[in-house]
Amino acid sequence: MKKNLPPSELARDSRFVRSTIMDAIMDPRNQALAERDLGSAKLQPGRPAAADRARNLMHGIFTGEIQALEGAGRTTFDFDDDEAPFALKLDMARQCWDESRHVEISVKLGEWMGTEIGEYNEATFLYEAACATDPILRLCGVNRALEGLAIDVFNTMREFGDISGDPVLEFCEDWMLADEVTHVKMGSDWLRRLTENDPERRERALEFQRGVDKLFSLGGFRGETDENPIQLARKLRAMAGFSTDEIDEISEISVQAQEDARAMSAGASAPS
């Protein structure tokens, strides 16, 4: 088995269909929608098409958990003993089990919400964050950026369950949220330990994380305004070890990502 498996080789059964993040960003409907006032984009039970939006997001969480599982698994394998400490690999193996449970939870939640496996397409940008060849970059991409996004998403969905009175959704999201806080802490701890005497490597890792965080803001998917379906979970991020400055930075990155996406979408729709 080779080291560093590219996203194109992620193994899936026939139910899964892949999409790219660029397909979504370049969709000409984005521009048409941007010109309308559809009210708050927040994912809340009272909003139009809330059930189908929640089902769609839940499927995105499901495929995201599969990719997080695969990313953690690859990190146990891709690095030799002299490249990644034994304890780091143990943490990644533990994360494999956690993500495996999250996939199981997501499948059960999907059944509860009437979503079939593979019902929606799958983008692999989450796994792409797990393809860095420096283990600490990978930890920053996966445990701080990806798992940080998971905190935001799970918190949004937990609130969705609470507001709608859905006991199953709230219960499941709360449990998954607990794991994600642990995973982010894991990433922050390893970042500190592995770069203690190497500030340049730390900066490279943080720069990589910024790039991934921008990607994960998905052109406005995550942020702190009414235009963002997923809200930045400041309190939980702080609990997971993010400083206020770091959270502010993610918020700014999200705004920038939204503006970039608007510009790209407008460019794609403009007559040539």
């Binding site: 088995m1 080779k2 498996l5 080789e9 992620l10 193994a11 899936r12 059964d13 599969i66 599982l69 695969e70 953690a72 698994g73 690859r74 990190t75 146990t76 394998f77 891709d78 003993d81 034994f86 690999k89 143990l90 990644m92 193996a93 533990r94 494999c96 089990w97 993500e99 495996s100 449970r101 996939v103 199981e104 496996i117 796994y127």
Partner: protein, 223 residues
Amino acid sequence: MADPRKPRPAFAPWDRREIPGLFDVDESARRVGIYKWIEMRLFETLGGWVATVPELDVKLVLGRHCYHHAWHAELWDKRLPELREMNTTRLTVPANDAMNEFMESIREPEAPELTIEKLVGVYRVLIPRKIAAYTYHLNATSRITDAPTQRSLGFILQDEHDDWTEGEMLLQSLIETEDEVDRASRRQVALEKIVLRAGGITGPGTLGDAPDSSGAQVEGATV
């Protein structure tokens, strides 16, 4: 009411533990180092395979078992300094070259259509071998002097038996044709031949020396 000052034996009548065992400190440490090396290679392999298997149930089981073996490696890593091996990496090695070749062969399949080959290597060859070696260690070492190792062996064997069962059930559900039976058998035979050359997962004497034809007492026969 029992007299609290009445002398009692250190060992209750039903406690039949004895010393010595078959292993001295060095032998127990040697085996524990090899166990750790095997568990590490195994959890890395299972973690790496997660992304390469398309079957969702198999993917999730591998993710779960990956952690089981990582935890075993951690238990062995913690045991090594207690066995006078402060440099835990020194003994974290394969028993011999053939054993290294065996683990390389186990982790070789990558393509998504090779799930049967992946699972046969782990669940029909390696894990049964581990269960045998761990059980031998459990039975052969002193239940008094090497009790911490035995305690870990007990936890680990529970995992191994459960995982073996689950892996075997996955295999039986995946093997649907005679051709697939042949594939599984060929894979098992190829790996068994390598581990045979290795003399077992901890090298020659993994399960003690074989009884000689005279029927004389041999290592492992009695304690």
